[in-house]
Symmetry: C3
Subunit: 150 residues, 3 copies
């Protein structure tokens, strides 16, 4: 009898513990079910554009392909210029998007630029708008993403 | 009988699991009991002063008011100048402090400056001194804060 | 009987929960069994060399000696120059290594430099090579290290 109730306890404990540790250990990404790591790369300096794109490419190589690493890039402040319509990095950006990398752009930054210049900068259509860049980071870290600012 | 001991196991498991996940999920802040997120903003470059203050303001707006976001700013290295007595940002700093933002300043940095110049810089009275800026960051991250360097 | 099965449940729950929280709370480091915190310092800008070394020294002082703080430094991009054979910081690096600080260097960066200049830079022998700097960061953060970019 003791053994059976011990077994029940074991099973009940497993029931809770496995999902709990799963939530903690792993960010979920519908597009990257096999990702071994989840990273959000911060681009907030214009001069780091190439470094951020290089980092994304190196990570995809390192993990053995785009299915095994889940990468987001969040651009805010002077970093948003990477995603302007006339970006010199358009080819590399397209190639990363084909590999499942998501590019987010901060609307607050664009609002400020529009207020100062009278013109809202045109951004590439595949950039995903978020209102507040750092708030997006906080949400992603809460989901289990690691923030790196290369 | 099996059901009752199963129920006991369930309750015992809950007893442990709920507090455990609570500790992990949530930083505590006496001043911000309703905060949805806890962030520590790193200011270690003088040229990022405005960006850090903007970020704090944008977060307060994004979360719908100062009660819903818990913000600390830690200044060290060249970043401490933000909190010097003659800071040009005094009005913005005061307004953020009214909204519950805490400004910490690294004493090691001030010690070094005093050693080099013979004069200890005067800082605004509401800056909270900590001995080692990065150690403060490590403590806060251990409590559940997310470190962002805007 | 109910009490005994409750006790069993308790013990089983403990069996799982204690190791689970241990894994989360604490990065393990064979060389630093008494460390109170585990930090990985990112050096990716040449002009931050001194700041990163100062941070490591300040942390060792702050925690009361090298046994109580576990520090790694990962150099990539322009940051790798810190670990070149002719580094001006050699004495400070040696002293930190004596105190158990590990210095990692990104091979991808060295590969790129070699491709561009035709010569592979010579690095100090005690630098530990890793293929991809940011992948090393992701692994360490998954183990419980806190990433700081001073």
């Amino acid at each position: 009898m003791k053994n059976r109730s011990g077994l029940t306890a074991w099973m009940v404990a497993m029931l809770f513990l496995v999902p709990a540790s799963f939530v903690w250990a792993q960010a979920s990404s519908d597009e990257k079910p096999f990702a071994e790591a989840h990273v959000i790369l911060q681009l907030s300096d214009q001069e780091r554009e190439a470094v951020v794109l290089d980092t994304a490419n190196n990570l995809i190589k390192h993990y053995g392909g785009p299915d095994f690493i889940d990468i987001e890039i969040i651009a805010f402040g002077p970093g948003v210029r990477l995603l302007f319509a006339e970006s010199e990095h358009q080819t590399r950006i397209d190639s990363l998007i084909e590999n499942g990398v998501r590019f987010y752009i901060c609307e607050n930054t664009l609002d400020t630029m529009e207020r100062k210049t009278g013109v809202r900068p045109e951004v590439i259509p595949r950039a995903i708008p978020v209102q507040t860049g750092v708030a997006h980071i906080l949400e992603k870290v809460a989901e289990g993403y690691t923030l790196v600012r290369p």
